[in-house]
């Protein structure tokens, strides 16, 4: 019951947010230079063809009407078709305007659904790596504020957050793939292709985890229920393991919700560098090609994920700490 009402409310709020996002992106892509009809039929088409295409797609209608139409498609799960990408998934260009294959463009939803598992795999592995790297550091720093553990965590964090990750990606790819030949780094043919990008991504994420964890553990350790716990008869291992980390994990969860956007930024460029066929590469290519339906679809999709993850984060947080109410 609680869960249901929580979900109903949050999904409703999320829907409002998504509506705003969709409208904003939709409007943005309608007002920027670059006539969609022209983009669809290609540069070489005569103006009549462009006009005809615009008419066909209803691009001459007022933006709100177009938006409602788009929303209608959206609720039916239709994110539209790419301007350029054929169903085969190949990168194409320079085709003629009357090309019959122009009608055979890939559906945006399909493209997203094809790429998202790889991106999730990458992000997931990166988060695992990041946690493995940061947990010991962050916890040790939080338990020993001012001591060498704290300083180590501080400097590691400062260093990691200062490494431009795309540059690191280039360097790591060079070292591990070219010089040492240990790990593959370009494209995707199997799970091992995820490792290097995930490491780069993890290095980008871990400073935030280290910092949040060390601060929140240090704070929790000052809490009365922790300082009083040994007097109550609890052992230190139990106090730290069962109570301090548990309480410190809530700021960590919130961090994930907030830093998701930043994570995505790194993800995008990491995918580009490693030529990793995920959502990020799809997006960058779409932007470079001005493939509006894909950009729009990705933006809406990511906003939706963002909304969902934040709901999940809040749900998890309120599961850990029932005081939190949403």
């Amino acid at each position: 019951m609680y869960l249901l009402s929580f979900l109903t409310r949050r999904l409703f709020q999320g829907a409002v947010v998504l509506l705003i996002v969709t409208f904003a992106i939709f409007t943005l892509l309608r007002i920027v230079p670059g006539d969609p009809a022209r983009l669809i039929v290609g540069g070489m088409a005569p103006d009549e063809v462009v006009v005809q295409k615009a008419e066909e797609l209803g691009l001459n209608d007022p933006i709100p009407i177009q938006f409602v139409r788009y929303l209608g498609d959206l609720v039916r799960g239709d994110l539209g078709n790419s301007f350029f990408r054929p169903k085969s998934g190949a990168t194409v260009g320079a085709a003629a305007f009357d090309d019959p294959t122009r009608d055979d463009r890939a559906e945006v939803l399909t493209l997203i659904l094809e790429t998202i598992p790889l991106t999730l795999q990458l992000a997931g592995l990166a988060v695992v790596f990041a946690l493995i790297m940061s947990f010991p550091l962050g916890v040790a720093a939080g338990l020993n504020p001012g001591k060498w553990q704290d300083k180590l965590a501080f400097f590691t964090g400062s260093l990691f957050v200062s490494i431009p990750n795309f540059w690191l990606g280039i360097v790591l790819a060079q070292v591990f793939s070219v010089n040492l030949g240990i790990l593959p780094s370009l494209g995707y043919k199997g799970f091992e292709y995820t490792i290097l990008p995930a490491v780069v991504l993890a290095i980008g994420i871990s400073p935030f985890i280290i910092r949040t964890l060390s601060v929140s553990i240090a704070q929790v350790m000052q809490e009365e229920f922790i300082t009083v716990a040994p007097l109550r008869g609890l052992r230190r291992s139990r106090i730290v393991g069962a109570h301090a980390i548990r309480n410190a994990s809530i700021p960590l969860l919130n961090l994930f919700g907030i830093q998701l956007g930043a994570l995505l930024g790194v993800l995008l460029v990491v995918e580009l560098i490693f030529d990793y066929p995920g959502l990020g590469r799809l997006t960058i290519n779409a932007v470079l090609q001005r493939d509006f339906p894909i950009i729009q679809g990705v933006a809406v999709f990511i906003s939706a994920i963002f909304v969902f993850i934040n709901i999940a984060v809040d749900l998890a947080a309120s599961y850990i700490d029932p005081r939190l109410e949403y």
């Binding site: 005569p46 990168t91 194409v92 320079a94 085709a95 294959t101 090609q289």
Partner: protein
Amino acid sequence: MKFDRRNFLKVSAMASVITGAPMINRTFFSSPAFAATDKVITFLSAENLTGNWDPTSHTTLGQINLESFVFGYLTRAPMTPGNPDEIVFELAESMELLDEHRLQFKLRKGVKFHNGEPFTANDVKATFEYASQPDRPAAWYPGLCTVDVVDDHTAVVNTTEHGYPASLFWFLSAFLPIMSAKDLADLKTLASRPNGTGAFKFVKQDGNTTVLEANADFLGGAPKVPGLNMTFVGDATTRMLSLLSGEADIIERLEGEQVETIKAKQGFAINEAVSVENKYLWFRCSKPPFNNPTLRKAVAHAIDRDVILDVLGVSGTASNAWVSPVKFGYVDTPNYPKYDPAECQRLLAEAGFPGGQGLPKLQYITSVGFYPKTKEYGEVITAMLQEQGFDVEFSAMEIAAWADNLYDRPGGGPGDMIDCGWATGSPEPDLVLRTHFHSSSKRICGIEDAELDAVLDKERNATDPEARKKIIQEELMPMLAEKVPSLSLFTSVFIHAMREDLKGIYIYPNGMMDASKATNT
């Protein structure tokens, strides 16, 4: 356990099976199948495809290269330096000029298209008559033509009604892929998959990879390799790293530094050859400000092509004409625009823009990842032009985005100058000259000039090759040097790199390949 790559693959493959992840390492499971014999060749292509399999729908080199695997040609032109005019017969068994307007092909018997249809003279007729239509984007044909079917295996190309000599098809026959008449009756099917008589059959398009398998019925005998995967990779470094890591067997369009790197490693071979490709700086001649030839000339005089060659290193060689030295009709054009700042300034002033004053911002578009060093010499050219007072804005685009901006369009193509090369698998110069500078085609520069049209028609209609060569060398080239619809920067040197175990692959000077005899162990 020693932690090496192979073990690692095992572990990770197992891990992904255990966790139920859908990603299974395909190379790990499938490679033993061909371990003993020849392997599928993986070729990384530098240019994207168009998405339309109709060979007449595009002039994209990447796709032309692919077509050379799948389609059959009446003849092939190896264009070796020692014997540039050599013609090898493929679908034709012989070729004979019956008269000025009639070229007869005797066709090979028993050849089948990949879809099982037999190859006959009707296919030649359908191909030529369809592909020579002026609305076909790939304007390779010198003009409309008719094909007379004498019998199933004799076809006569007839240009009587169209007013130009049939001899033009002599060399051209090496560059025109032959399609099935049945496909041509159904253009949708034609566009949806390539269907030819070549050594490799199209299986599927898998993302950027075109999967081909050996055609056991190939007229030259079944290829030794089981198949060929051609993958578009739009980044030169990625292509090289893939070759070095063993993920690719052959890659194209290498740059000087990459050649050095690969030469320093064991197990790779390099193939270098002066190509039929010239790289040009195309002006958008159909719109201001470059509809003014004086201004175009001013630009041409501002560019020091020696510096560009320095930047290119091994990937380019000088050329003072609008066709490659490998092509018929090449000449060291005497009035070819030279680097001359003073002349540039004079012309600028003459055009009404002294010192560049009053010129609009000029957009210079180039591609990255395909041609070697485009971005590098693009920056150099930008700097050179800026030095003369041209306000140039430089944009380097991904190859596919660039391709969409490449061609002339109503009102003029995007930007003011665009970088592009032109390579065609035949010594025939009109594949460049007529395609680009005749007002019936004007692919990129969009020039419409009656004088040029007249000279181009004159040269095309010349029946005697020597006379034709003379017209090209003494009238057309000098005229182009005056009108500069584009500036030819240099001739490309094509550099391919491959694993040493890949043997017997033949690379044509336009980048097309013959892998029918290749072995890959």
